[in-house]
Symmetry: C2
Subunit: 367 residues, 2 copies
């Protein structure tokens, strides 16, 4: 990615700091450091102000920072010097007196270490700022997510086409990853859920030794990680038997209606709690309210779960450039579960559904 | 795994709490919750005292907790109730007045939320307790690590046997994961480093599009994740050309001598800083001190980096049941790097090297 993308992101952060009357920030969250600098390693903090942009790291990463972050300074600590002490050394050479920090990811212990190392500097908690900035994707990021969607969908096509009754959940999960990589993915966007029968009643099931032939319900929740580290996230729930049962048909229709109703609400200015409510109402009215226990969806990006969040508790408002999942589900412990999930880009005047795996009731029969 | 393993681990924690005159603890770190209960999901905390053992979770995990944690109580919060508030509800029904918490993993924000939700309860920071308990492995865990070593070594045998000049680092990384899975691994123990030529000078290189034929130096740092979630971690550095150069021979001999010298020191009671120093001295005396910038090694287990730590800063002392890596390296930015890494179990009266991939100089030539 061109380096001016990163400097544009840093400018956004500096504007935000200025509006909060803060001069500098210590970015300690690994993903936020990546987003601001392009650096893909770990154990590295970023000190940023109008004048400074310095990665505080160790000698494992000297060359990598030179390669990945042209134009960014670095301070390489010796392995006998703690991060907090190295940070104090860097700050001594600056005029920073108040320093924002990420209270939503910094641990209590590291905060205490920093406090005692930076005696004369006031630490100001500034949670959520980078998470909020990252929620709105730039053109490069949207393209990365489109790539991750394409890799996921093509990989899914391969496992769907090669499905066999004797395959286990685990085998399918592994084949899926292999297939997505053959289309350019670095790997899975998250551990895929391949769930047969009752396992589909667990919203976060782990693939095991159940076989396709053990039950005609098959839930697949999967995504890819693109070369640049962005993720996609889809779910489809199939019937691998001879025909679709009345019960499957009934529940599937409710979930699909809930999903389509919510997707329709997606546009700039919409409240995430209202989008969640739109889907939840459809499921409630069909009498399945207590079987839909999770939030309706979440942002995707460098992390698989990002802002904004669709949930009854959410204060988030949709903006152009956000990319979100919409994934209602109904889970019956004694029967199984049905979930449908797509990835949606918020556009200037509405939305674009990025994913296109067929989801009509008829498409679900692959027996 | 039998459930009495988990109750034995909880007893160890309760003994530790008692010795600190604490009655209860809130365990918020995901891996620590897994280690104490067998639960493999996320977003779930454990409240533990002599009387209570309660998982605080949400409805996505009701069934999974029933399956994975027989005998453990659960409190399922609604998705409109925050974790901190749910924790307060649970605590109201107990006689706990002082509560230990994990200040080394809890974020500042979550701590503040907890503080205001648990008004009448004193929160006491207790960092490192579970990390220290987990450093000493029980028989089940040692067997899991042996499995992960076996899966890694067999997988490595496959990619070594099928190496081709036109293969890229990325292809080899993917083939390696595929091979390890065919021997029972859930997946990689961590993102493997497959580094050709100059890339080997980066201790944490990511596999890319370089081909084996681009340079005759090939560093592989890899491991498997066993079915139970335990990890192995090995490194070998190969020459894929016609012959081993004088420079490779010289540096390799120093690294190997450093590694063997350090491994000899591994026994109960040894100071980790001394083991680190033993290897560092060999490399220093050979004149390469400034090209070995990282710690000598680390514990492995449910995480790839655990206690104890081999580094000049470490206060850790070796105990029977600890499993550690020993991985000295020399990195020359303009040439490449050589690292050798094995996994070692601390036994009652010394140590056992768990890994057995050949590492004599001659074994390194695979051209």
């Amino acid at each position: 990615m061109p380096t001016d993308i990163y400097s544009a992101r840093r400018k956004k952060l500096l504007r935000k700091l200025k509006s909060e009357k803060l001069t500098g920030m210590l970015v300690t969250n690994e993903t936020n450091v990546t987003w601001l600098t392009g650096f893909r390693g770990d154990s590295t903090w970023l000190l940023i102000s109008a004048k400074e942009c310095i990665l505080i790291s160790d000698s494992r990463y000297t060359t990598q920072i030179e390669n990945e972050c042209p134009g960014v300074e670095m301070h390489i600590r010796k392995n006998t010097v703690k991060m907090s002490v190295a940070t104090a050394e860097v700050l001594k050479k600056t005029k920073i007196h108040t320093l924002a920090y990420e209270s939503d990811s910094l641990t209590v212990n590291t905060f205490n270490e920093l406090s005692s190392a930076l005696k004369l500097i006031e630490l100001v908690p500034l949670p959520g700022v980078l998470v909020d900035l990252r929620a709105v994707k730039d053109a490069t990021e949207i393209q990365e997510i489109r790539d991750a969607v394409d890799q996921a969908q093509r990989g899914h096509g391969v496992i769907r086409a090669s499905l066999l009754p004797e395959q286990t959940e685990m085998e399918i999960a592994h084949n899926l990853e292999h297939a997505m990589r053959s289309f350019g993915a670095v790997g899975v966007g998250f551990d895929p859920i391949i769930a047969v029968g009752l396992q589909a009643a667990l919203p976060h099931a782990r693939p095991g030794q159940l076989k396709i032939s053990d039950n005609d319900l098959l839930l697949t929740d999967w995504g890819a990680e693109s070369a640049g580290g962005y993720r996609s996230d889809l779910t489809r729930t199939y019937v691998t038997g001879k025909k679709i049962s009345k019960k499957f048909e009934k529940i599937y229709s409710v979930v699909l209606k809930a999903q389509l109703t919510a997707i329709k609400k997606i546009r700039p200015g919409a409240r995430c709690a209202d989008v969640d409510e739109a889907a939840r109402k459809v499921i409630d009215q069909a009498g399945y309210g207590k079987y839909f226990g999770h939030g309706l969806g979440h942002g995707i990006g460098l992390n698989i779960h990002e802002n904004p969040r669709f949930s009854p508790l959410s204060d988030d408002i949709l903006e152009p450039g956000m990319v979100v999942t919409v994934e209602p589900g109904i889970y019956l412990p004694d029967w199984g579960g049905i979930r449908i999930e797509d990835d949606i880009l918020v556009t200037k005047d509405g939305h674009e559904v990025l994913t296109s795996v067929p989801k009509s009731l008829e498409d679900m029969l692959i027996g």
